[in-house]
Amino acid sequence: MIDGIGAARVGFDGELIRIDHLVKTYLLGEVEVHALRGVSLGVSRGEFAAIMGASGSGKSTFMNIIGCLDKPTKGTYVLEKIDVSNLSRDELAHIRNEKIGFVFQGFNLLSRTSALENAELPLLYCSMSNAERKQRATEALELVGLGDRVHHYPNQLSGGQQQRVAIARALVNRPSIILADEPTGNLDSRTSVEVMGIFQELNEKGITVIVVTHEPDIAQFAKRHIVFRDGKIRSDKINPKPRVASEVLKELPAIDEEEEE
C-alpha cells in the first residue's frame, strides 16, 4: 500500500527504525535553534526503549520526527524499510495512521465522546466497515482492561483509565510502533506503574514501544535507555534488569481504584 506513494524501501529485516545523522533546526525569529545535531539510531522490532533527557535536550523533537508529525531538516529516517524523511503531509498522515500509535501526557481524548468512539478514531481514517471498526475498538479496550467501560465518557473515567483508552486508541490500528510521550506525567505513582505494566504486557506480545520520560523510575521499566543532551545522544544502553510492573504493584500499598472516580 505504501509502495503506491513511491517511497524507497531500504534497510534490513528485523530493524524497524533506522535513523542516520538526523538534524533539526528551527528558526525562531532570526535565531536558529538546533534541536537535533546529528542523531543516528536503530530500533529493532520488539524493543521497549525509554528516551530520557532534560527539557531542551531534543527528545521531544526527536519524538515528533519518529512519530511522523515533523520532518527532519537533514538526515534520513527509515521506518519499516520506507524512507519517510521527505514525504508530503498527506503521506505522513497515512504513515501515522497505519504504523504509529501515540500516547500523550495529557491523554488527548476527545471530550464528550465515549471510550469506544475515542478508541475507534484512527480507524475512521482508513477504509473499514462500521462493524469491523467497532469490533477492533472493543478488542483494544478489552486488551487494556476497559471492556466494561466501553460507553463511558472521559469525564466519567479516572486518569489511569483515560490513559488506557488512549493506549487502546494507539493500539487499534495494529501499529508497528507505539510512541508514548511522558505517558505517566499526569498520573499518580501507582497508576503510573499500572500504565507501564500495560506497556510491558504489550511489549511481551511483540509490540515495539518507545517511551519518552524524564523520570528515571519510569524509565526503569524499559529494556533500553537512550539519553539525550543538547540535541545529541549522550548514552544508549541496555537496561540489564528492567523492573517488572506486576511485581512492583504487589509491593505498593493497595489503593481502591473505585474511590478515585
Binding site: 498527506d90 498522515a93 495512521n97 488527548n108 478514531l121 481514517y125
Partner: protein, 405 residues
Amino acid sequence: MKMLNILLSAFRALRRNKMRSFLTMLGIIIGVAAVIAMLAIGQGAEYSVQQQIDALGTNVLIVFPGSQQQGGLRSGAGTMTTLTEEDAATIQRECPAVAFVSPGTRSGGQVIAGNLNWGTGIEGCGADYLEIRKWGVDYGEYFTESDVKAATKVCLLGKTVSDALFPESSPVGQNVRIRNVPFKVIGVLAKKGQNAMGQDQDDIILAPYTTVLRRLSHYPYLRYIVVSATSPTNINAAQSQVSELLRMRHKLSSYDPDDFTIRNQADLAAAANATTQILTILLASIASVSLLVGGIGIMNIMLVSVTERTREIGIRMSVGARGRDILTQFLIEALVLSLLGGIVGIALGVGGSTAISTFAKWPTIITVFSIILSFGFSIAIGIFFGFYPARKAAQLNPIDALRYE
C-alpha cells in the same frame, strides 16, 4: 472517512453547542424565510396585476384619434377629430377578427340626486361595452342597442357613485341630473375595484354614447373606440385590420402617418408585469442581504469552533487524518448548519407567506422555483462561508495543534 460517519460526527459536534448552533442557524433561517416570503409577496402582486389586466381584457384594443398638429405644435394623443360613429360601425361590419365594437366618448360633471351630489366622469359607450370589458350589472340592466339609436337618457351607476348618491335606497328607477340633464338610472354596475394604477374603476357613470354626444358634450367626434378581438390570440390580426380599414376610410396615402393610435392592453400588461417583476427582484435582493449576513454568522462561528477545537484537530491529525479529512469535516458541519437552517427557513417562509395572505389579505404565491432557489442559496452559503474556516483547520500543524491550550 466515510460520508455517513462525517455526517454523524458533524451532527454530534453541533449538538454539543445546541444554543450556539441554533443561533447560527437563525441567521440562515431568517434569510431563507425572508427570501421565500418576499418572492411570494412579489409574485402575488404580479399575479393580481395580471388578473386585473386580464379583467380589462387582453383581447381589447382601444383606438384613439391622432394628435393634432398645427405648424410645429403637436397637441398630444386624442386631440384630432378623426374618429366618427361611422368608423366604429364600419369596423364592426368589415373586420373579421373583431368581435365587438363600442364607440366611446367622455364627459364629466356634477351629478345630482335629491339633496346629494357627486362629481364624477360619464363614459358614453355602446351596447356591447360591458361584453368587451367583461363587466357585469349588479342591479337593473344595461341599455340596449335601441337606447343607443334613440339616444335615450338612461344611465348605469358605478358602485362608488351609487353609494355616494343613494346611500340608503336602491337607485334603480330613480332620476339623476347630470349637468342639469335628467337621466333615469336603469342599473348599478358590479364592483370592479381599483385598477393597476390605483384608480377607482367604480367611480363612473355609463350612458349611451349617442346620449352623451348629443346631450352633454355637444361634440360630434368620438374620443375613442373600444374594440375586442375574437380571441386574445387574434389581437394582432384585429389590430392590423382596424388600422388598414381606418387608413382607407381616412384616405391616407402610403406616405402619410396614421391619424389615429391603437393601443392594446397587452403592452400595458407587459409594462405592468415588468414593474412588478422589478419589485419582486428588489424585495428578493433585500432579503438575500439577510441571507448573506446569516452566512457571515456561519463563518464567524466556524472560525470560533476551529479555534476551540484546535486540540481535537491535532488529535485527529496525529491518528492519521489528512488535511482534506479535516477540511471535509468542518465543511460538512458548516453545510449541515446552513442546510438545516435552510429547511427550517423554507418552512417558516411558506408558513409566513400563508399567514400574510390569510390575515393581511395580501395575495402571495409560493413557487417551487423560490424554494429551490433559496435552498440552493443556503447550500452555496454553507460551502462558501464554511470553506475558509475549514481550510484554516486543515492547514494547522499537528504538533502545534496538539500543544494548543
